[in-house]
């Protein structure tokens, strides 16, 4: 089943002085129309890289897309012209970054910044663009939007600025919204508001959302489907419910058990805090075997030799591990 956005075997390399780092290693993902897909993993696993690759924003001197394809609505993005990519960016596929504090230009009016986005992608007059800006500000719940549009970013709180970012991203009615770490730098109350906002927007506009995060809580709240990323490899995909209740891959299991236990009697099997021992490696892409093998408690000799493929476990729930049946039994 193919969706609106289809990533196949994407490979992204970074050539640094110390050597080559393969940030994404044969990553394949499908984004269905109208769903919220969560990409989850530790810091440095390649979530942001995936998002940047779709947008064509990989910083090009050190980084390079060296393989694979990204097909959006039948169009191959990796071979699209610069002009076409600029049309797509903001107009058809939009992205919101972390750090909303500093993501707006401090010397330009908010209305101007949103209107600029509209003017770039649609044939409208300045007046119409401004009206659309106010409209989107209303849509994201900014009080007194006409006044706010005349104002500057520093006059708003962090939560408000995050909403403005969302407004700007949605101003041209894109088909896909990529949200990078929606929970970073926000306190929990603001987080909750933003989550509600995203859910509402998705329901009203039917937009498809890709959400990259390390926060399993956010995944549980928002995502319809999840893809688990480790060291540049997709190691499990499935619906949120399936992944959370029946994780297959040892890493996913580890991730879920990392949610602190708040119950009364911690035991050896279920202590307050568990961890996955070891650190995520930075890979050159020339290693053999499973990327998680060095840290995996269920490792067998084949794990170091052959890289496991993503196999279907139950229906559309896939995982990449040689020892699935054994792990499931534990």
């Amino acid at each position: 089943m193919t969706g609106i956005l289809s990533i196949k075997n994407l490979v992204v390399d970074f050539k640094l002085r110390a050597g080559n780092t393969r940030a994404l290693n044969q990553v394949s993902l499908e984004l269905m129309n109208g769903e919220i897909l969560g990409i989850v993993g530790e810091s440095g696993c390649g979530k942001s890289m995936t998002a940047l690759s779709i947008m064509g924003l990989i910083p090009s001197p050190p980084g390079k897309i060296t393989g694979g394809s990204i097909i959006f609505d039948g169009e191959e993005l990796l071979t699209a012209s610069k002009t076409r990519m600029r049309q797509i960016r903001g107009g058809i596929i939009s992205m919101i970054f972390q750090q909303s504090m500093t993501s707006l230009n401090p010397v330009l009016r908010i209305g101007d910044q949103i209107a600029e986005c509209v003017l770039l992608h649609e044939e409208v007059t300045k007046v119409e663009a401004w009206a659309r800006a106010v409209e989107t500000l209303t849509m994201v719940g900014i009080p007194e939007p006409e006044i706010r549009a005349w104002g500057y970013p520093h006059e708003l709180s962090v939560g408000m600025r995050q909403r403005v970012m969302i407004a700007m991203a949605l101003s041209c009615r894109p088909r896909v919204l990529i949200v990078d770490e929606p929970t970073a730098a926000l306190d929990v109350t603001v987080q909750a508001q933003i989550f509600d906002l995203l859910k509402d927007l998705q329901r009203e506009t039917g937009i498809a959302i890709i959400m990259t995060t390390h926060d399993m809580g956010a995944i549980a709240e928002l995502a319809d489907r999840v893809a688990v990323l480790y060291a540049g490899h997709i190691i499990e995909t499935g619906s949120t419910r399936d992944i959370l209740t029946n994780p297959q891959h040892p890493y996913t299991r580890g991730l879920i058990s990392c949610v602190p236990y708040l119950g009364e009697n911690p035991t050896e099997v279920r202590p307050y805090l568990t961890e996955i021992k070891g650190v995520m490696p930075s890979l050159t892409g020339f290693e053999s075997g499973c990327a998680f093998a060095p840290r995996c408690p269920y490792k067998t000799p084949i794990c170091e030799e052959v890289r496991p493929e993503n196999e279907a476990v139950i229906g559309v729930h896939t995982a990449a591990c040689h020892n699935l049946k054994y792990v499931a039994a534990v």
């Binding site: 947008m55 903001g90 500093t102 230009n105 010397v107 600029e116 986005c117 992608h121 970012m165």
Partner: protein, 325 residues
């Protein structure tokens, strides 16, 4: 309303500074070794006893010091900055007569430095390892380490002697035509070398600041947002980035006026450019202190006024400052 109160506050502040400079002048006259009469009379030996008694009476030098200060300030506000015995003319007239040439020189040099400097800085930030970057470093090094009066003289040797493209000195050539346009052209022709000399030092600074600021700006989150919205790279530079570049440029311009006037003095002497610098030079040689102090005062006022203007411009350009008032 806030704008007006801010402006009024700054104006008051500037006024107090001007007052302070006058007090400084007064102190210098009275703290200098020797008789204040000598200072006021300009150390022109041969002043008769009568003349000295006359000066003593006019300036009230036998009165208590704070009365003298009051009198001095009072005279200053009426435009009386003393008399130059050397030039036989009121100091204010002398100074205002020469101020135009200095302002022309400084303004031209600054214009040159800001425009070419920011251009080079932007180009250097685009290609950090390129030729422009190396050129900026070279100019900065020379500008900061070489004495400005020496670079001026080297330029004269090169461009007015070896390859006599430009005139050697002065502002105008009396032998040239007296028509209006002819005179303007003549002045401009004479202006090139001094303005170039003065400008080179500041060009280096603007280029360095622009380079550093651009690198910071281009790496910022809001530029990332602009690119993610599909803004073309040229517009990212010329609109989003540049609007933020204005701030540091205005800031450093404000900080440099004192130094640029000092440098202008040296450049004027090298090129015999008839401005405040050469006047100060001649006056000091002749021990004409009223004139020297008058120049000290006037140039300080220039700096204060320039600071006032840049402060105001900054306020216009940075919206964050506006709400703080």
């Amino acid at each position: 309303m806030r704008m007006v109160t801010m402006f009024a506050r700054r104006l008051l502040h500037a006024f107090l500074l001007i007052l302070a400079v006058l007090v400084l002048n007064f102190l210098l006259i009275h703290l200098a070794p020797g008789d204040p009469v000598d200072v006021i009379a300009g150390g022109v030996g041969g002043t008769t006893e009568e003349a000295m008694a006359d000066i003593r009476a006019t300036y009230g030098l036998d009165k208590p010091i704070y009365v003298q200060l009051g009198l001095y300030l009072g005279r200053a506000f009426q435009g009386d900055l003393g008399n130059s015995f050397f030039y036989n003319s009121p100091v204010l007239e002398l100074v205002t007569g020469r101020a135009g040439a200095t302002i022309l020189l400084v303004a031209t040099a600054l214009l040159f430095a800001i425009s070419i400097g920011t251009l080079l800085g932007v180009l250097a930030s685009h290609k950090p390892k390129g030729i422009v970057s190396a050129l900026v470093t070279f100019i900065s090094v020379v500008g900061n380490s070489a004495p400005i009066f020496w670079t001026g003289m080297m330029l004269v040797l090169l461009l007015a002697w070896v390859y006599p493209v430009f005139p050697i000195a002065n502002m105008i050539d009396i032998t040239k035509g007296a028509g209006f346009f002819d005179r303007i052209l003549d002045i401009l022709h004479h202006l090139v070398l001094p303005a170039l000399t003065l400008g080179i030092v500041y060009l280096g600074r603007y280029a360095r600041v622009t380079n550093a600021s651009m690198l910071e700006i281009l790496g910022s989150d809001y530029i990332r947002t602009a690119r993610a919205m599909g803004v073309a790279e040229t517009k990212v530079y010329s609109y989003h980035a540049l609007r933020n570049l204005i701030l540091p440029i205005v800031t450093i311009t404000g900080r440099q006026f004192g130094s640029i006037i000092s440098a202008a003095v040296l450049v004027e002497v090298v090129f015999s450019w008839p401005g405040l610098g050469t006047l100060a030079f001649d006056a000091i040689l002749a021990r004409d202190y009223p004139t020297v102090l008058g120049i000290l005062f006037f140039s300080s006022v220039l700096v204060i006024v320039a600071n006032l203007i840049t402060g105001f411009v900054y306020h216009l350009v940075d919206p964050r400052v506006r709400t703080e008032g």
